[in-house]
Each structure stands twice: as C-alpha cells, then as structure tokens.
C-alpha cells in the first residue's frame, strides 16, 4: 500500500502532463508550467536533506578522528561561514536578517557572501574546469593510437579537426588550387562537422529519444519503480 498509492500518483500526473500538451485551453495549457514551478519549490526544500547528509558525514569523521579529519573540519568551517554570511547580510540586492551590512560592505567593497563567491568560489570552480585542458591532452596521447579501422577513423578525424581549427590548418593546405577547395583543412573540418558528424549525432539523438520515451512510459505505468524502494 505504501508503494501502490504513490505509483497511482505517478500515473495520474504523467497522464495529465501528456494530455495537457495537446489541449491549448486553460487550465491544461498552464499545467506543465505550474508543475515545473512546483518541482523547483520541492527541490528547494529537499536541499536541506543533502545538507543534513553533508553535516552528518563530516561531523562523524571529525568526531571519530578519521583519517584526514582536519580537512573535513576545514570544509565544515567554510560551509558554516558561507551560510552565516549569506543569511546574515544577504546576497547581491537581497537583504539578509541583519540588513545589507553597509559597514562590512565599506570594508570589503561588496557583501561578504559576494566577496567569498567572487574571490574564492569562482576561482576554485574555474580552475577545476580548466583541468580539462590537461586531461584532453593526456587522453589524446593515450587513446589516439592506430589500432583497428574504427579507432583510426576516430584518430584521423580528430587530427583533421584539431589542425583545421588552428592557424596551421590554413597554412598547411593554403597552396591547394581552388578546385581542390574541399581539401583545404578548415573547409574539410566544416564539412565533417556539418555532414558525417551531424548524421551520427542525429542517430544518437533519435534512438536515445526512443529510449527516453520508453523509459518514461515504463515509469508512468509503474513497470520501472525501483526509485521508490521496496515495500518492506
């Protein structure tokens, strides 16, 4: 019972959402928008669950003096600090519990929350993202090896596109006569991107869409229900 009723809810909601797509009349035309708004609110509340999990995991490590517990402590301090300044003085134009904190703003040049965001958070995030530059190089070194016909295709197109997108591509093939235009590396890159690449992307998109439609249908019909856990 504890599982059947929620499954009925899933079915009803799913069907309403699908039907409302084809009915332009109110209230149906507004249903999807409303439900998406609700989703945001529910997940907003649910965020607390994650935070509780985070606090539990970290405090237990700190309490048990697990290996590396000092770092967990540093993490917890930054968590509490960010939360405190955020709710105390707000962010951007939104005031917090203690207003806008003008005196702090005079010192920092901005709200403390925004200060931490601007100088610590964005730098951490951008640096983590930029590790990709290194990883793309090491992945290319290791994986683009002549082996089978398929892996050769992968490697050759990658090399053509890498060349075609740099200054050298144009130089290398600049001497080709006009009639051989298509072999001009930048042109060839555009051709590959526009035709064979789009074809494969389309195939992936179409078949994945069928997979998604099927999975969604199974969920609505209650065939796929593992996310609800067991009855016991």
């Amino acid at each position: 019972m504890k599982r059947t009723l929620p499954l009925v809810v899933v079915f009803m909601i799913g069907m309403i959402v699908i039907l409302s797509e084809f009915i332009p009349h109110r209230p149906f035309s507004k249903i999807n928008e409303t439900l998406e708004n609700w989703f945001m609110i529910i997940s907003g509340f649910a965020m607390l669950l994650g935070q509780i999990s985070l606090i539990q995991v970290n405090t237990s490590k700190i309490r048990n003096r697990d290996e590396n517990w000092q770092y967990n402590l540093a993490g917890m301090i930054s968590f509490v600090l960010m939360l405190f300044v955020g709710f105390m003085w707000g962010m951007e134009k939104a005031p917090g519990l203690a207003g806008h904190g003008e005196s702090l703003q005079a010192v920092l040049g901005m709200k403390p929350f925004d200060y931490l965001f601007e100088y610590v958070y964005t730098n951490l995030s951008a640096t983590m993202f930029s590790l990709l530059a290194f990883f793309i190089a090491s992945a290319a070194y290791r994986a683009f090896i002549i082996r089978s016909f398929e892996s050769n295709l992968l490697m050759i197109t990658a090399v053509i596109v890498i060349l075609g997108r740099s200054s050298f591509g144009a130089m290398l093939t600049g001497w080709l006569p006009e009639s051989w235009n298509i072999l001009h590396l930048p042109k060839l890159t555009d051709f590959i991107m526009e035709f064979p690449n789009s074809a494969a992307q389309r195939a992936i998109m179409i078949s994945a869409a069928l997979g998604i439609i099927g999975s969604s249908l199974r969920i609505i019909l209650g065939i796929e229900r593992s996310y609800l856990g067991s009855d016991k």
């Binding site: 290194f134 090491s138 290319a140 070194y141 090896i145 490697m155 090399v159 060349l163 997108r165 200054s167």
Partner: protein, 283 residues
C-alpha cells in the same frame, strides 16, 4: 629509459603548461593568414573618412569576453586611429559596462581622446530590432540621455547625428540574440547603413549567409582566431594574438603527443612481434 604512465602524464601536463604560458609572457606574434571576411571588415573601417560617427554595439556579456572583447578593443583602436567618433550602444544589459571597460583600457593608448567628443556610451536599450528601427527615425527619442545621464543635445559628438542614417558603419559584437542579425535587418536593410560585426567561433557559421552580393553584412570576425587576424592587420600584437599563439602551440603540442603515443605503441608492437617469433623458434 622506461617512463611510468604516471611520470608520462606529469611530463605532458608540465610541457603543456609551459607551452601555453610562454606566448602569454613573451608574445611570438605568429602571422596568421588573414581570411577574406576579416579583411572586408578591416577595409570598411579603414576607408571611412575622419570625423565620421560610427556605432560599436556591445551585444555580449562577460561569459564570451575572451573571444569578443579583443575584437572590441581592436575596432576602437582602428576607429580612433582614423579619427572617427565612436558611439557605443548595447542590446544586452551588461554591454555598457563592457564598453566602459574597453574604453578605459584603450584610453591608456590614446590619452587625448575625450568623452563626449571622440566617444560616447549611450548604454543599454531593451527591444532589439524595434529599438534599431526607432533609431532609424530619431536617435534622440531612443536615447534621450547617455549612460551617465547627460542629455543627448548636450553631447558635442552627437550634434550632427539625427538618425541612424548619419552613421558611417555599425559593428555589432554579438554572442547571440539580439545582435548581428537585428542590426543587419534593421540597420542595413531598412536604413542602408553598412553593418559589420564579430561573434564567437561557434556562432560564426550561422551569419556567413548574410555576407552576400547585397552586402547585408560587410565582413565578419569569428572567434579568437579572427580577432588575432584583425590585430595583425592593425600591425600590433594584442591580447587576441597572444592567446591565439598559445592556442596554436597547444594544438600543435597535442598533435605531437599523439604522434609520440603512436610511435611508442608501434615500437611496443614490434618488440612484441619479435618476442613471439623468437618463441616459435625456440619451440
């Protein structure tokens, strides 16, 4: 000497880091082949007489600054060199700040340029195409005052500018909608002003059809590479050139890595084969 995979990876990371850093510190000034579309844009600005008013529209936000900001700087430099009067507008809300930033940096090179005489920042206006159409009837009704609140009629640079038709060229630096397309349709098609522009490498192919016999769009700068080409036409090594040098070196380096990887794999295969044939003989 045998390198462990871990050591190999570290070498790759280090070499890449050095290779990308050096051109930023010591500009190489690699000559890039200037593409036709960049030269078209350059010629448009080059051939406009001194004293004419032009518009640079800042239709982008900080997320695409790496690519578009160097273009803005080059175009300001070029127009100022030619003593043209720059009017900055923006169809994107964060555009005016970026315009200010670009002007402040360029003023270091051109200390005698004066606000209100040689350049003016009119700020952001919502509405895209409709706004541009309205500028075709009267600039002053759209922009009663500039970004800092000075009245239109009090700005000396705008004395002779009544409508968009008094502008010599428009350059839209755009990373999306509204942007180049709107300027082409309302600025060129309805008011007959020459329009050029710059965009990100990813969006560039979508605008190329406008470069046609009707001259809807006169040239186009697509991405960092085009920005570097423009700098080389101006005869300077600017931010885009340095970054493009880094880019090109990194691309080349990755190709070298691929080649070394293949060489290594080939030698290993050869060694394996020899071992195998040896094994057969012994048996």
């Amino acid at each position: 000497m045998k390198l462990t995979p871990l050591l190999e990876r570290r070498i790759i990371y280090l070499v890449l880091l050095i290779a990308v850093t050096i051109p930023l510190l010591i500009p190489i000034g690699w000559k890039t082949e200037v593409s036709y579309h960049v030269r078209m844009a350059y010629d448009l600005i080059e051939k406009t007489p001194a004293g004419k008013a032009v518009i640079i529209s800042f239709d982008y936000d900080p997320s695409t600054m790496t690519e578009l900001h160097p273009m803005a700087m080059s175009m300001i430099e070029h127009a100022w060199k030619k003593d043209q009067i720059i009017i900055a507008t923006a169809l994107w809300p964060q555009g005016p700040q970026l315009a200010d930033k670009a002007f402040t940096e360029m003023l270091k090179k051109f200390p005698d340029k004066k606000y209100g005489v040689d350049y003016v920042n009119l700020g952001y206006k919502v509405g895209g195409m409709v706004t541009i159409q309205a500028m075709g009837r009267s600039m002053e009704t759209v922009y009663p005052e500039d970004n800092s609140g000075t009245l239109y009629q009090d700005i000396p640079a705008l004395k002779k500018i009544r409508t968009l038709k008094d502008i010599s060229w428009i350059s839209s630096l755009s990373s999306g909608v509204p942007g180049i397309k709107e300027w082409v349709m309302a600025g060129h098609d309805m008011n007959g002003v020459s329009v050029t522009g710059g965009t990100t490498a990813i969006s560039a192919p979508g605008f190329i059809p406008y470069i046609n016999s009707q001259n809807q769009l006169i040239g186009l700068l697509g991405g960092l590479k085009a920005a570097a080409e423009y700098e080389s036409l101006l005869g300077l090594v600017g931010p885009a050139s340095n970054k493009m040098d880094s880019q090109s070196i990194a691309h080349l380096l990755i190709l070298v890595f691929i080649a070394i990887g293949n060489l290594k794999a080939w030698r290993k295969r050869k060694a394996d084969r020899e071992k195998n044939t040896l094994g057969v003989k012994n048996a």
